[in-house]
Amino acid sequence: MEKEKRSFSYRVVKGYFRYIINGLYYRKFYSIDTQNIPEDGTPVLMVSNHQFCLNDALGVLLSVNDRKMHFIARANAFDIHPLFAKFMLWAGVLPAFRMMHEGEDALDNNKNTFHLTEQNLLDGRSILLYPEAGHQTRHWLGTFAYGYTRMAFEAAEKTGFEKEIFILPSCNHYSYYFGMRNDMLIRFGTPISIKPWYELYKTKPRTAWREVNQLVRQQIRSMMLDIQDLEHYDDIDFLRQSQFGKDFARSLGKDPDVLPEKLEADKELVARLADKQVQYDDVRELREAMAAHGLTDRQFRHRPWPIGKLLLLTLMLPLAILGVWPALPTWFISEHFSNRMEDRMFQGSFLLAIFCLVMLPLSTLITLLAEWPFIGAWALLHAAALPILCVFEWNWFQFLQKAIAELRYRRYGAAIRPLRERVFQRIKDLIIL
C-alpha cells in the first residue's frame, strides 16, 4: 500500500504543536503502547473514549509519528470560524452530523463523510473517531454509536471482503481537565481485525456490529477510568484526587505522581468503593465544608507556609512582570470567550487553541515588530522566550493561588481537619485490605 505523503507545512505545524503541547501546555505527556498501532498502510479505525474535545485528538496526533492521521469530528466544530473549518479540513478532519445537534435533515451529509472515510480506509489510512458522538464531562464511558462499525464493514464490503480492516481501541486520560501544566495519557489497546466477522456480516450485519462493538468497548473500559456511579461521582472523584487517593495508590505500590500508575490505582480504588458499596454522606459533607471556605485537599496535605510562598512570589515578581505579555492577554481573551460557553469542557480546548493557534504566533509577530527598531536582534531572544514566559506566568499565578488558599487554611483548616481524618479513616477501614 502506498504511504500517504505528508506535506512540508503539515510536518511544520505538527512539529510546532509537539513543541507547544508536549513541551509547554502539559506538564507530562504519556503515550503508551504505541507499538500496538498497525504499520502505516494498514486500514485502521482508531476508536477512543472522548473526554476533552480538541485535546483528545491532539494527543493521538502527537502519539502517531509516521503518518498523516485522519479524524472525524462533530460537525458543529466546523461552525466555530470559517478559517478554523479550513484548517480542520487541511488537517484531515471530516465532519460527522448528529441528529440531536445538527438536525435530522443534516444526517444525509454523513453519506459523504462515510464515503470519504471508507475510501481512506481502503487506501490504508488511519482514522480516529469517537463513537460516544460527543465528549463526556467526567471520567465515564458513554454509549457508543455504531457508525464506526458500519464504516469498517462497508469498506470491507467494497473490496468483496478481500481487505482486512482493523479497529484499534485507545483511551485518553487527564490528571485534571482544566488549565495548563496537567498530565495527559494516551494508551493504545490491541488491534481487532474484523475479518472473522465478515461471514456473519453478510447475513446479520447488526449482529456483527454489536459483537465487534462489544469487544472494542471492553478494551476501552479496561484501559480507562470509568466511574459508573454517577450519583456519587463528585464524592468518588474527590476521594481519588485527595490525599486518600494518593495513599491508596502507594498502598498498591504505585506512584501517585506518575499518571499511568495513578490511573491503575484509581481504577482499583473505584472498583473497591463499588464492591464495598461505600456510603458517601460524610464525604459530601467534607467536600462541601472545604468548598465553602475555598479550600481543597491540597492545603491539608503539606505544612502550609503562605508567608514563605508570598516572599518567593515577591522575589519572582520582576520575571512575572516580564511574562505579563503575552500571558495575560491570552488568559483574558480565552477566559472572556470560554466563560460564554455552556459546555465547560470546551474551555480547556479553547484555551489551548487560542494559546497555540492565535496568541503565541500573534504575540511573537507583534513583539518582533515593536522591539526590533529599538533593540535589534535582542527582540528575537524575547520572542523566542515568550512561550516559556507564558508557562512561568501560569505557574506564578498558580503559586499565588496556593499561597492565598494556605492563608484561608490557617483560618478555617483546623475546624475541618477532624472531619477529614474521620472520613479518610472510615473509608480506609472499609476498602484497604
Binding site: 444526517l107 457508525g147 458500519r150 446479520k204 450485519p205 447488526r206 449482529t207
Partner: protein, 83 residues
C-alpha cells in the same frame, strides 16, 4: 403496505419487522421496554427504524418524534394515532 383494522395487528407486524431489521428476538420487544436500549439506537439506526415503520404502517415519522418516545407501547400508540 397492509391495512390494519386492529391495533394489535399493527403491533404484531411492527414487532416482527423491527425484530428482523435489528436482528433481535421478538421477545425483547415488550410494550414497556425502552426503544433506545433494546435497539441500541443511534442517529443512523433511528433512520432505519423510521424506514421500517413507514414500510409497515405508511406513517412517516420524524426523528424528533421518535426520540421523545421512550417505550414501544408509546411508539405503537403514536403510530396508531397518526394513521
Amino acid at each position: 403496505m397492509k391495512e390494519f383494522k386492529e391495533k394489535q395487528e399493527l403491533i404484531d407486524a411492527l414487532r416482527t419487522a423491527i425484530s428482523e431489521e435489528f436482528e433481535i428476538e421478538e421477545e425483547k420487544i415488550t410494550p414497556d421496554a425502552s426503544i433506545k436500549d433494546v435497539l441500541d439506537l443511534d442517529s443512523l439506526s433511528l433512520v432505519d427504524l423510521i424506514a421500517v415503520i413507514e414500510a409497515q404502517s405508511g406513517v412517516k415519522l420524524k426523528g424528533t418524534d421518535v426520540t421523545h418516545i421512550i417505550t414501544f407501547e408509546a411508539l405503537y400508540d403514536f403510530i396508531w394515532n397518526q394513521r
